[in-house]
Point group: C2
Chain length 231, copies 2
DNA sequence: TCACAAAAATGAATAGCATTCATTTTCGAA
DNA sequence: TTCGAAAATGAATGCTATTCATTTTTGTGA
């Protein structure tokens, strides 16, 4: 009895899960193609093969549906990043990789990244949404990289990890967006390298090689002068 | 006769201009307070003291009204910038000023800047809109600064002005947006200085002081060795 | 000052879309 | 095969941008 009910429920849950997944796939397609405003529930329902009302059995409203779509996408991106970044050692390599990967994701899935910027990050209660946490987790990687880089002396001690975060993600997004708007093809590898290198140049600890060289020169000058006089 | 008609028209035009201005003021307030979606034409009409239909005599539709509001705002910002920036000489000073001013505008008029990001820059035909030109004009200032800086040797020769543009505006907007979302007060002067200094550090020409010092050291070492042997 | 035609303003009517909910269909246990 | 619960449906509702037939205002000439 319990057994029968359990398998029945499992089957039912499976069917529901499949339906929910179909709606999410349709929604992702339609939102990506037409943007949030232009997308209509009828269109999404049609592509998912369900009636309008059914959507509301699975999602509170249109915006909730968008949130699920973007949340699933974002979660996938974060998990991939966490798997990959720990393989790299130096702060410079990690930063280069993070820049490259963010740029790549942004260019590849521009439409969905755009939905995030337009509909979620600029929403009045973004600060209290799951997306705030997802963003924290996504960028934690870079913040930790910078902190470690400072600790090991690879990066200048007065670098502010949160400022660096703003610079990295802000720069990458502007570069990507310019390319998308301009309809230009972007050499992702080259752009990422230039960006990362410029950022790293700004974060390099001030060379005291110069100072020590100067000291050596002074020492030698004195020595030469003395020897010269001695001759 | 012609005279009479002319003044009559002038008066009429004056009245129409005043009405249009009233609608624009109301629209700016309502759009800023509630965002584009939430703002309703009835609300805007009410605050401007006209009927709904009247709005459509002056503006093609709701979006056109938004565009006029943002365009007027943006134009004012650009004119102010052009007046001010030419007073500064060095590329470093100009870049510092541009960063500071962009950050300041963004923090002061966050709601309207947000409308720009959310409703205009991410619009599918932004590339063919007046806003593309306005943005070009706004950022031309920085691009020219970087080009001049490269020409005078103040900035490294291999800096890409368009990459620098993406870095400057991307970074500033991320910094501003983090502060706004986090509800934190932002020390604009300090943040602008840090940002500009980090950017400038990355754009500084590679020091060949080190190389020349090295050469001097080599010369001295040889000399000392010779003198030493001579003694 | 008045009459009148052209211009401007009005707000009721229209249309499109998110959301709700009374009804119908499906499903699984007995 | 039957029945009750769960799921799905799509017509009805309500909200808002936009239109347009009607009303009001404006300026001119007598």
């Amino acid at each position: 009895m319990t057994r029968g009910t359990a398998t029945a429920e499992a089957r039912a849950n499976g069917a529901q899960a499949a339906r929910q997944a179909a709606i999410l796939v349709a929604a992702r397609t339609v939102f990506s193609e037409m943007g949030y405003e232009q997308a209509s529930i009828i269109e999404i329902a049609g592509r998912a093969g369900v009636a309008e009302g059914t959507i509301y059995k699975y999602f509170r409203n249109k915006r909730d549906l968008l949130y699920q779509v973007v949340k699933d996408f974002y979660t996938g991106i974060i998990e991939g990043l966490e798997d990959e970044v720990h393989l790299l050692e130096s702060a410079a390599d990690r930063l280069r990789f993070i820049v490259w990967r963010h740029l790549k994701v942004f260019m590849k899935d521009a439409r969905i990244c755009l939905l995030f910027i337009r509909e979620i990050r600029t929403d009045d209660d973004y600060a209290r949404s799951v997306f705030r946490d997802l963003n924290r987790r996504y960028t934690a990687c870079l913040v930790e990289t910078v902190e470690r880089g400072i600790a090991t002396g690879e990066l200048r001690a007065d670098a502010d990890p949160h400022l660096v975060r703003a610079m990295v993600y802000g720069s990458v997004e502007h570069v990507a967006w310019n390319a998308i708007v301009g309809g230009r093809r972007l050499d992702i590898d080259a752009a990422a390298r230039m960006l990362a290198d410029t950022l790293l140049a700004g974060l390099k600890p001030p060379e005291n090689e110069t100072a020590s060289l100067g000291a050596t020169v002074d020492r030698l000058e004195t020595l030469v002068a003395r020897l010269d006089k001695a001759l």
